[in-house]
């Protein structure tokens, strides 16, 4: 069992990014991260996070601080914060989701994945490739086959198929 401080002072932790920068944060807030929580239970106060760079860590700390203050009255406020939080570039979102995954912050993972999903919705195949920088690795035959199979999903700019056309 972790030895919790019995003093009135809130216990602080130090999070260290991959670039060796240190950030102080209240333990009660930091434990929103499952990974950090585990380490705290084993009496660590300096938590090295070699998987998370400084920029990303700053954003994550911001998220945890906001969500650490969650009460019944400020739900709308937090919703607004979340909306703004995901207004970032794909690269930033990608870094964040990797970090959130490693840090095991479930609510943040869900928020980011939903943001990804929202951006992919209704996009054409070409657009998705461009957004994610994914090269087309199908052979021409494969591509034709795959397109045939998924034709129903592509057609009419994602509109429904009107059977009265038959």
């Amino acid at each position: 069992m972790a030895s919790s401080s019995k003093t009135e002072q809130k216990k602080m932790l130090i999070l260290k990014s991959s670039e060796e920068e240190e950030f102080e944060i209240e333990e009660s807030i930091a434990v929103q991260s499952g990974t950090i929580k585990n380490m705290v239970e084993d009496d660590f106060t300096l938590i090295p996070l070699p998987n998370v760079d400084t920029e990303t860590l700053i954003k994550i700390i911001k998220y945890m601080k906001k969500h650490g203050e969650k009460t019944k009255s400020n739900e709308k406020d937090i919703e607004e914060f979340d909306k703004e939080f995901v207004k970032k570039s794909f690269t930033e979102l990608k870094e964040l989701v990797l970090a959130a995954n490693y840090l095991h912050i479930t609510s943040l993972i869900d928020l980011l994945c939903q943001a990804f999903a929202d951006r992919i919705k209704n996009k054409s195949v070409k657009a998705i490739r461009e957004i994610f920088g994914i090269p087309n690795d199908f052979t021409p035959e494969e591509e034709a086959e795959v397109y045939e199979q998924h034709k129903w999903a592509h057609e009419e700019g994602k509109e429904h198929i009107d059977h009265s056309a038959y």
Partner: protein
């Protein structure tokens, strides 16, 4: 007993350097290979230990035990007569540790010889300590070695707190620092009154193939790799012990399959998922996964809907189903003939499906007599036939009532015209009960008695009723809800500032979990009553739910005929598809329109448009709402043709929305 006594005991024993010899049967088995009954062997039994271990715990597997014997094996209630081989091969010796659960630090009170040999620690060196010392590489270490997976440790802690079994693998160390893999199982042991008094740990140690020098600190689970790797039992790099995970990592997005598939793809609509499968090979592979496809359907349509679909259809291919329900490419009419008879013959009955069974209740017989019998048609049977359900008691006979299905196999009847006028009572029936019986539900202050109202079920157990016609012939426009999940269900009116014009014979279709679409009916229009073709919607999840009219246009696609909206009608069929779109057809239609023309609407669109649907196969001549049932989410069964005065209930017309998976790939 109490903790103090335990402490004293331990002190003494540690000082004396006592060793406890195992008298468990299972050890005997390991050594001898055969189970020996009532032979507990000889060994030193420490009377002191015996005392504080506690009362005899009668565990199930103890039947070979002589309960009068005060051996330690008995007292702890360990399934001694059961070979250890039930979770480990009989030939491999197991290490056993017993800890005192009444002490918050769970000190070890017993270890067996195998433990001593495997770990290199003598019993007297470990008694009284928490067994976490095994996670330290050095006997003098203060905390566990970084290679020990903190997630597993956390899981152990959780299981101990919750008093449940734990099974898993953990990195441990011998006294000399050699790394071991500990296949560990922990189980709580209870005393008679249910308190957990001990924890028994059974370990299988084996050599750990890791290089302690290549590790960074602290250890983390690998999330990004430039190329795909297959992890079997170990992740060699990090030394983490993964439980049989095959994790391929998408080098492109640098997100693991878990994150990609389960968290992102599953939030897309079935159409988007199918489309995104064309992006690259890796993603195509992910989208082909049936589990992912199921999650996609579940997220898009709701778990209730997918539950019904899974249950009903054998060998369901989610991807195919999602596609067919979106494109309606497999939609067709089929005709079924069934046996049995619904006699005496009647009209104005109400029918509904509970699972794969169609249920029919009441109706108007010869001489306008209200009927009160119940019939069931089991479509799962090889030769489905109508059978009367023998019930202990029936609701009063009626016609013009509604019969709706609730969760699983429950049905609910409301209102209608009975022998002595209009009714507003509620009766429920559990079709799966040994003796199905109609039971009245009192429900507090019920809505006005009525007939030809409309009803639907929300979230499996909430009955919503609206409109209809009163005794005085007045049309109603109210909306009432009865939550049948409560112990004492109470009718609750849904007050709205505005309601659609009062009507009867309209349809209520639940969609999007909490929303309702009202369509058509015979509605009040000034002094007149006219067939309506209007749509209205309400969301019951809103703080103050309000009805609002849905302005629906007609879809004008390339090459389609004139854009058409459904002609006004009443008593029509309205079916909500699993994907949330609504199909309308049949009913009593003004003008010379064919009742078999199908119309499709997606009420959740910003500007909903009616689409027409041409369906191959022979449609029924007529179709009425009260005699149409939806089975398994994808089959719409219209009961009977109607020639002259007679209802032919042995002829069913089935509108298949998707192909039956078990017959076509």
């Amino acid at each position: 007993m109490g903790v103090k006594k335990v402490e004293e005991e331990e002190e003494e024993n540690r000082a004396r350097g006592k060793r406890l010899k195992c008298t468990f049967n299972m050890e005997k088995q390991q050594e001898g290979g055969a189970k020996e009954e009532h032979d507990y062997g000889e060994g030193e039994i420490d009377d002191d230990y015996e005392q504080f271990i506690g009362e005899d715990d009668d565990s199930d597997e103890d039947d070979e035990h002589d309960n009068d014997d005060e051996e330690i094996g008995d007292n702890i209630g360990v399934p001694c007569s059961q070979p250890v081989g039930f979770f480990y091969p009989l030939t491999t010796p197991s290490s056993i540790v017993v800890s005192d659960a009444l002490d918050p630090d769970l000190p070890v009170i017993y270890v067996n010889t195998v433990f001593e040999i495997s770990t290199g620690y003598r019993a007297d060196e470990v008694l009284g300590r928490n067994c976490r010392f095994l996670q330290f590489r050095d006997p003098r270490a203060q905390r566990r070695h970084p290679l020990v997976d903190p997630v597993v440790v956390s899981e152990i802690r959780r299981c101990l707190e919750e008093g449940v079994d734990f099974q898993g693998e953990l990195l441990n160390f011998r006294k000399d620092g050699t790394p071991l893999v500990n296949r560990l199982r922990l189980a709580p042991i209870h005393s008679d009154d249910g308190t957990v008094t001990h924890i028994i740990g059974i370990q299988m140690f084996s050599e750990a193939k890791i290089d302690l020098n290549t590790v960074s600190y602290p250890v983390f689970k690998e999330t990004c790799q430039p190329h795909c790797e297959e992890f079997s039992e170990y992740s060699i790099k990090s030394g983490n012990l993964l439980h049989c995970q095959h994790r391929e990592i998408c080098g492109i997005l640098q997100l693991s399959d878990e994150v990609l598939a389960h968290n992102i793809l599953s939030r897309l609509t079935p159409r988007d998922v199918a489309s995104i499968g064309s992006v690259c090979r890796r993603i195509r592979q992910l989208t082909k996964n049936e589990h992912v496809r199921k999650m996609v359907c579940q997220n898009a349509w709701g778990a209730d809907v997918t539950g019904v679909l899974e249950h009903m259809t054998k060998k369901l291919a989610w991807g195919r189903l999602a596609r067919e329900l979106t494109t309606l490419e497999a939609v067709c009419w089929k005709k079924l003939t069934v046996r049995g008879a619904v006699e005496p013959s009647r009209c104005n009955f109400s029918a509904c499906a509970a699972g794969n069974r169609l249920v029919l209740f009441g109706g108007e017989g010869v001489n306008m007599q209200p009927m009160d019998d119940t019939f069931v048609l089991n479509l799962d049977a090889a030769n489905p036939e109508w059978r009367r359900v023998s019930v202990k008691s029936s609701p009063p006979g009626r016609w013009g009532h509604t019969l709706s299905c609730l969760n699983g196999s429950w049905l609910v009847v409301f209102g209608g015209c009975g022998r002595q006028g209009l009714l507003n009572d509620v009766f429920v029936l559990d079709l799966d009960a040994k003796q199905p019986t109609w039971k009245e539900v009192s429900g507090g202050t019920p809505p006005l008695p009525r007939s030809w109202h409309s009803s639907c079920t929300m979230e499996g157990s909430k009955l919503v009723v609206s409109g209809g016609c009163t005794d005085a012939g007045v049309l109603l426009s109210d909306t009432y809800l009865l939550d049948l999940t409560n112990d004492k269900p109470t009718w609750r009116e849904i007050p709205t500032t505005w309601a659609p014009p009062s009507r009867l014979g309209h349809s209520l279709s639940a969609y999007g979990k909490t929303k309702i679409l009202m369509f058509g009916g015979l509605a009040k229009s000034g002094h007149l009553r006219l067939r309506s073709g209007e749509s209205y919607t309400i969301d019951l999840e809103d703080e103050r739910p309000q009805w609002r009219q849905l302005e629906c246009g007609a879809f004008t696609g390339v090459g389609s005929q004139n854009a058409v909206v459904p002609p006004p009608r009443l008593d029509h069929v309205a079916v909500t598809m699993p994907c949330g779109r609504i199909i309308i057809f049949g009913g009593s239609i003004a003008g010379l329109h064919s009742p078999s023309q199908l119309f499709l609407l997606d009420p959740s669109e910003e500007k909903p448009l009616w689409r027409t649907l041409n369906v191959p196969g022979q449609p029924p001549k007529f179709a009425w709402g009260h005699s149409t049932c939806v089975v398994g989410g994808t089959r719409v069964l219209v009961l009977g043709g109607h020639t002259g005065e007679e209802w032919i209930l042995n002829e069913l017309y089935e509108l298949c929305l998707a192909s039956k998976q078990d017959s076509e790939a």
